[in-house]
Symmetry: none
Subunit: 325 residues, 3 copies
């Protein structure tokens, strides 16, 4: 679809969250269709996880985003979908790859939302495809368990913070879940949640460096808990790490099903977003260093540095491998 002014920031770059939302919608459609392709209980595919996603090039207002999706692996209860986004300038005809994302969905019964149904198996062209898919499936399963454990963390507000401290840029928003945010099952679309997360992360990044910022990447996101229609969700973000030219922001989503008194507020999702700062000409700018004050902030900074160096090493290994072939 054509990118509109409301999809973009003041500089005309489309929000990463808008693109994540489109990706998720495409993934939800193809996996729901697949899971209903055999006779049996009707179901809706719910997003369980998005793998780490890089934003390879910014998209601008007036460009057309082409989204294509393909099922690449099925386990007994989950579907792996590969979604590619190409941006096309329809005036010049120029096309660029914007994103390649991998998403995992789980089919939930339309009659009983707590029942996970079986997924019809797909046919693989080659045996290795199935084996590689199985390996990816096992890896993400492990990672999901790990993130579940660090979910207790909270963001506390700071009075009169100094510029470039964590407290200075941290932000949060609340959103009342409306009907358009939800699937047929009455739960929030994963894409809606990701869009709100990107919105908060972007405000944190812009408050820190006071320039035009764009989403560079999103770490793997796990959707541990569904969020029901009518809930209030609080999305909070704080900066955890800065390199010379990038900022890492941790984002939490807490859901408060406040009409349903039987449930307390709970952590639904958390993730790391990486942003870069751009000049008016679209060149990366240096980022002011994050000032850490407490022990926790220093620890998180080091952890963020670890993730940053790991990603950098991985990327260089890929480049070397590509050069060798």
């Amino acid at each position: 679809r054509i990118m509109r002014p409301d999809d973009a920031n003041v500089a005309g770059n489309v929000h990463g969250g808008t693109i994540l939302k489109m990706i998720e919608e495409a993934g939800a459609i193809i996996s729901t269709r697949h899971c209903n392709s055999q006779a049996g209980e009707p179901c809706v595919a719910a997003l369980a996880r998005v793998e780490r996603t890089d934003f390879l090039s910014p998209v601008c207002i007036g460009e057309v985003a082409n989204v294509s999706a393909e099922i690449t692996y099925t386990s007994r209860h989950s579907v792996e979908v590969q979604v590619n986004v190409m941006s096309e300038n329809i005036l010049t005809g120029a096309k660029k790859v914007t994103n390649k994302a991998t998403l995992w969905y789980v089919p939930l019964s339309l009659q009983n939302v707590n029942k996970v149904l079986e997924v019809p198996p797909i046919q693989y062209a080659r045996k290795e495809q199935e084996d590689e898919g199985k390996k990816r499936y096992e890896e993400q399963k492990l990672d999901r368990l790990e993130t579940k454990q660090r979910n207790g963390d909270m963001i506390f507000p700071v009075i009169n913070p100094e510029p470039h401290t964590v407290g200075y840029s941290q932000s949060s928003l609340i959103h009342l879940v409306g009907p358009s945010d939800c699937t047929l099952l009455g739960f929030v679309h994963g894409g809606v949640t990701m869009k709100l997360m990107d919105e908060v992360a972007g405000i944190v990044a812009a408050r820190h460096c006071k320039t035009n910022i764009v989403t560079a990447s999103v770490d793997a996101i796990n959707f541990h808990e569904k969020i029901k229609k009518g809930s209030v969700i609080t999305v909070s973000g704080r900066m955890t790490f800065t390199s010379n030219k990038s900022m890492e922001i941790e984002v939490f989503v807490d859901a408060d099903p406040f009409v349903d008194e039987s449930r307390e507020r709970y952590r639904a999702v958390s993730a790391f977003f990486t942003y870069v700062s751009l000049s008016k000409e679209g060149k990366p700018l240096p980022v002011p260093q994050l000032l850490t004050e407490t022990e926790d902030e220093k620890r998180r900074f080091e952890e963020g540095k670890g993730r940053y160096l790991q990603t950098k090493a991985k990327r260089q290994a890929q480049l070397q491998q590509a050069a060798r072939h």
Copy 2:
């Protein structure tokens, strides 16, 4: 209402689809109100058909669109509504007629959506008004039967198409039907469908001629089949004909009620949109000729030429008639 940036293209011209959506909403309100004006089963008026509509002058961001609607004919089971749109520049006070559209609605029972109710007759000021309305009613009934027959057609993607061929500009989008897209009966508003159709047709036109384009007219659209909440709709467009200064694009809407296994994907609507290309000063530009390759494409081009010449002849006849009076 005031036209906003999201209602318009990059050049500031409001999308034809936005205007079609406003027209349909006005028509739905007035005909639902009329059909419930007598005691009996409550009902909702569903759009059955829009007559050919010309966009007489482009509307810009910041202008106010005034929409007025009037019931002009009632048959036993249908209502004809005439909707006029005036755009008003509230800074200069200038007003222009933008559209005159004729829509047909059918009242469906709120209790049983497959039951068509009877329409309370309206009073005519003069006998001829009733006779002319009846003639229009018979004509559109005939036309609806005809379009139902050419509905089997499909759009297949083309790999590496040449510029200005049909395959080069053809486009499609998918949309998951949400609650705000739907009437009280849980079916998609005709206006929402038309807006998506205009969006796809606009992308096809822009891809073909790489300039700023605006909707010039929409051929009669028949809504054969309702589309249910939760369906996925695929809207596809391909260019069928070009004259020196206009492009005709055929648009198909297919609905896939994919959670409801009892139904296959089906063709819900199809229509022809005509676009013109505008320079930065708003003057019409010449359009690159469409290159037809297959037999089907050549046949469709000839059919499009037929429609183009017929419309041109009709307009000249009207002008001569107007001059004579």
Copy 3:
């Protein structure tokens, strides 16, 4: 226009904020049109103030809202507009008055946004109308000065608050101002701000009483400062007072023009919203009493009680006067 699911809460009642936004749009159209009706510099009318507004009856999904606006007074530099909203059930034909609102607009030059232009005078049918208008004009001018003074207040977060305390229900959201939120001058529409304020106030009210709540009234709102496109706005709400069946919530709007480094964050608007709690059958429910802890909270509770009793007395005086006639 027809009220959609997205305009309403889970119980189907349309948000007060949606209605305030429609009212403001109607007011902006009629006053911009009036101020440009004489030759001279083109201008856009900006909202300066909304008088106290009661929500006389709730509007539901599927109903049509009819908005009508009339200019009732002009001073040298401001326009008073009276806007009435009627909700109409188009199935039954039943109509109800929903709102009567009074708004004040000021014409700002399109060339120089800091220049207030002169307003063309209107003709009054009777001399008393002009005199009464002048009286209203003087009163609101005085009131605007007063609220400007209590604008320094801030909302501080509370860790682990007890149920029914002020800290327990207080909430805030941030919103990045997009192009569709803005007028031709690039400043946020007053209606957009009021919609966000109602959203926050509604969440505060629902968190306090955990039931379905609806907006009962909004106290006069003064728009002291314009908010520019690209700003981040923080909307915060805290409960100030509860009677047996109503809750008063104070809402602040702070704007942070963070790309424009020359300006600090500033208070743009503040107002009091009153909510009632409704049972599933739409009957008013008793409201849990607000627990005040600090001296400031106790003082604000007493001030809220003062406003409550004053409003109650005024309404009874009106009823007695109406009975006498």
